[in-house]
């Protein structure tokens, strides 16, 4: 199978979906083939992502780290189908983005809750929109779906806030609600854009554990963009470090600490040395902004 360990020469032929996905087989759920993204046109264009190719396996947990403005969010938006590649191809579940039959849950940098819905209705939104849940929206929204939303809200400490409106909650609480919204439809692909950025240290560490437990239980493929190196090392199986704009992948490293990881893990010397080497790399990448392409 050329799917595994494919070389660039082979994967260029992948412009149309090749063979059907076999149930149970491990295949890359996300494939970037020489993807470039430019914003704007011609002379005024800024290149956000320089020709990047990589694969992400189904059920893996990836953290994307790098200096700000390096195109981390651009990668998430490409996978989520929110923007299109200027050059190259993005495949999700072996189909062009958009055509892929994958349930995506996405949490953005801002909570982006709909202000006219209360928190519970906001969390339930994906069940109203995404297949196959939407077919049963009318019959289940007052029962099963509602319970599901409440259970999820309780797990992030928002049990009593379902009836409140977004503006009645603090930024951190809104962010947690937005995380619930990304999870409620049991996505197989979870795209998280600095979801814990606005939270205090303690809540953040609690949610790391929550997210890890959830990942271990349901094994979605997770793509996490973060500035927090401890967060990336705590949560991810694989860390991709990106260069300054135009972003390219500088380092792609697996993280093999045993799961479930605890806060104890973060005090081990291996953990510290990992975060330190990540840090050095990013500092170098930032410094290299002017000099290197």
């Amino acid at each position: 199978m050329f799917l595994k360990n494919s070389t660039p020469a082979e994967t260029i032929a992948l412009t149309t979906p090749a063979e059907p996905v076999k149930p149970g087989a491990v295949y890359p759920v996300i494939e970037f083939e020489r993807v470039t993204v430019r914003y704007g046109k011609d002379a005024g264009a800024t290149q956000a992502l320089a020709e990047s190719s990589f694969h992400i396996d189904k059920g893996d947990f990836i953290a994307l780290v790098g200096p700000s403005g390096c195109g981390k969010s651009t990668i998430l938006k490409l996978v989520g189908g929110l923007i299109q590649a200027s050059d190259g191809h993005v495949f999700v579940a072996r189909r062009e983005v958009g055509a892929a039959d994958v349930r995506i849950g996405m949490a953005f940098q801002n909570p982006t809750l709909l202000p006219w819905l209360n928190i519970r209705d906001n969390v339930m939104l994906p069940l109203k929109i995404a297949r196959p849940f939407r077919d049963e929206w009318r019959s289940k929204r007052k029962g099963e779906y509602r319970d599901r939303a409440d259970a999820l809200l309780e797990s992030v400490g928002l049990r009593d806030f379902g009836e409140k409106y977004p503006w009645q909650l603090s930024g951190g609480m809104q962010q947690r609600a937005s995380l619930c919204r990304a999870l409620i439809h049991d996505p197989t692909l979870l795209l998280l854009d600095e979801p814990f950025g606005a939270l205090d240290q303690f809540t953040r560490e609690e949610l790391w554990a929550t997210l890890q437990a959830l990942w271990m239980e349901r094994r979605p493929t997770v793509l996490l963009v973060t500035h927090d190196l401890r967060e990336s090392a705590f949560l991810a199986n694989r860390i991709m470090v990106m260069s300054a704009r135009p972003g390219r992948i500088l380092m792609d490293e697996r993280v093999d600490f045993a799961r479930p990881r605890t806060l104890e893990t973060t005090y081990q010397p291996e953990f510290t040395s990992l975060t330190q080497s990540l840090r050095n790399l990013i500092v170098a990448a930032r410094g290299g902004m002017a000099g290197h392409p």
Binding site: I104, M106, W116, I129, W167, H185
Partner: protein, 257 residues
Amino acid sequence: MTSVNREKIASAVLIVGVFVLWEVACLLFGISDLVLPRPSQVIVTLWERWPALMPHAVQTLYTTLLGFALGVSAGVLIGLLIGSSRLAYNVAFPLLVGFSSIPKVAVVPIFVLWFGSGTVPAVLTSMIISVFPVVVNMATGLATTEPELEDVLRTLKASKRDILLNVGLPRAMPYFFASLKVAVTLSFVGTVISETVASNRGVGNMMLLASSNFNVPLVFAGLFILAGLGVALYVGFSLIERRVTGWANRKTDFAAG
């Protein structure tokens, strides 16, 4: 709570005060009721002539509401078309501004020419005058929807229709209701103008006849009727607005209820 009540009482006192001042000024300066009748005279006329006035009031209300309903429906449709695409919005907006800056009074003779006098031109005038505020506000509400909110739905593979129903329309509701309150008042203006120019029924026509008979208290009675109808509809829409778009005003009582 008490401060809100105090404001309400103050508003009521102000309204009553204006009428009292008007009454007193007329008496004090001996103003003839051919020029400016006293409010008490107007109210007495209103009371005595009510059986004859009511059909006119009903005609005006009916014409206005029909025209308003047509105008709002057309306005929402056009607004949806223009607001749902940035291109359409940018292309159509200059034309829209051009149309909306035409004094609608000027089109009444044209309607009379086309449809004769009576109810039809009044409905049409009322309609055309109420279309534009609705179109402009709907289109603006839709076109200024935060792309981030649409992105939330797009990652869920929502159709254009899903996005419109779940983000676009709710987002545009505060704009829509703001325009309704403007449109319903304008709509009365349209009806009355048309009734004055070309009709044999309605409050506008009644006022015209009364003024040609120098029955000035009756003219003012017509004004009072119009004011009453206008205020009633305005209040009605405000109440609906508060229920539907309270989220935009961050009303605490909205969240509770």
